[in-house]
Subunit: 189 residues, 2 copies
Amino acid sequence: MSSSTSESGTRGRTRRAILAAAASTLARDRKATLADIAEAAQVGRSTLHRYFADRSELMEAAIVDSFRAVEDSVREAAIDQGPALEAMRRLLAAMVDVGDRLAFLFGDPRVLEEFTDSFVPDMSVPTTIDLIKRGQEEGVFDRASTPEWIQTVIWSLTYSGWEAAEKGELPRHGVTATVIRTFENGMVT
Amino acid sequence: MSSSTSESGTRGRTRRAILAAAASTLARDRKATLADIAEAAQVGRSTLHRYFADRSELMEAAIVDSFRAVEDSVREAAIDQGPALEAMRRLLAAMVDVGDRLAFLFGDPRVLEEFTDSFVPDMSVPTTIDLIKRGQEEGVFDRASTPEWIQTVIWSLTYSGWEAAEKGELPRHGVTATVIRTFENGMVT
DNA sequence: TCAGAATGGGACTTCAATGTCTCAAAGTCA
DNA sequence: TGACTTTGAGACATTGAAGTCCCATTCTGA
């Protein structure tokens, strides 16, 4: 595995630190400069340039990296197993866990548009859309909504929950439960 | 009324065109340059500078302008009248109507943070929070959620609905109904 | 320990966005 | 029509981020 990158342990660590810093810094401030990102990664600006020649190269790598992180988290949720409702709860929990990555990826629609071709989804991971359709067939998810809208709601609530925790408006440990409750039942009792 | 601004009809029109273009352009692309905004307003870049000396002056004016537009729309919804559930439906419809303004104001958290002091809310307009609390007292809105979280969900669903329509994923005429349904009942039947 | 790898910081260039200014052309209104 | 207003286009200076390069210092692993 690690041999495929042909990188020393040090380089790998530095690289990952920069990518993680890029995602979380840009999630919080989309106008962040490379200097900001380097500082967040506790790395010199010239070191950052050593790993990523220019801004777009960093962006692309950060997007791919974040996608993989989200994919890994979703894979662990095993959303093709068990009842759709329970699978959805695991999915929502998994997404809240990688909230900063999602905020980076989907916070600014344009970020993603410019780099769509730079990422090939892992087809072995069951998609959210599959789960939604399964749930609709099982009769537990609203059939009046399109799967795309439901997916949008999932992202949107997850992002809101992450952001609320970020601002201190919601306790970290309560985010997942709140998001799940809102997703399932809405706001009218 | 118009005399209070001491501006000719032409100047007023140009000013409003620039402010509207700023809000909608920045809502769609947060990195838009002043040249982009001028172009969207069908105005020369030097004309834009004639009205707004620098970027932050334009931002501030655009924020105030958008707030007023949202405030006007919310005022029309008369959310202190009638049952909370119906008032909320009117509020959601009103917010979808000014979706581009909301996307501009709340799309990038930092936009607002930098200019909080530039806007004094009109206290005569009942706030969303008031309506939420009233609804909770009436027993129609989820009491397990804080008013702040419910407000976040309102913004978030409204924004998602606007964005989906923007991308063509939802038909314009169906956005309001979809947002209301999702807000009230969530996704589990 | 010691050679090679990796880093930080600074000097420097490039570039795009911003902001200022002028002037001729077009528009407005009495 | 004619005075006055508003505008667009472009020249120009300024600024901050991006990107390149170098060198002394620190770190790592055999």
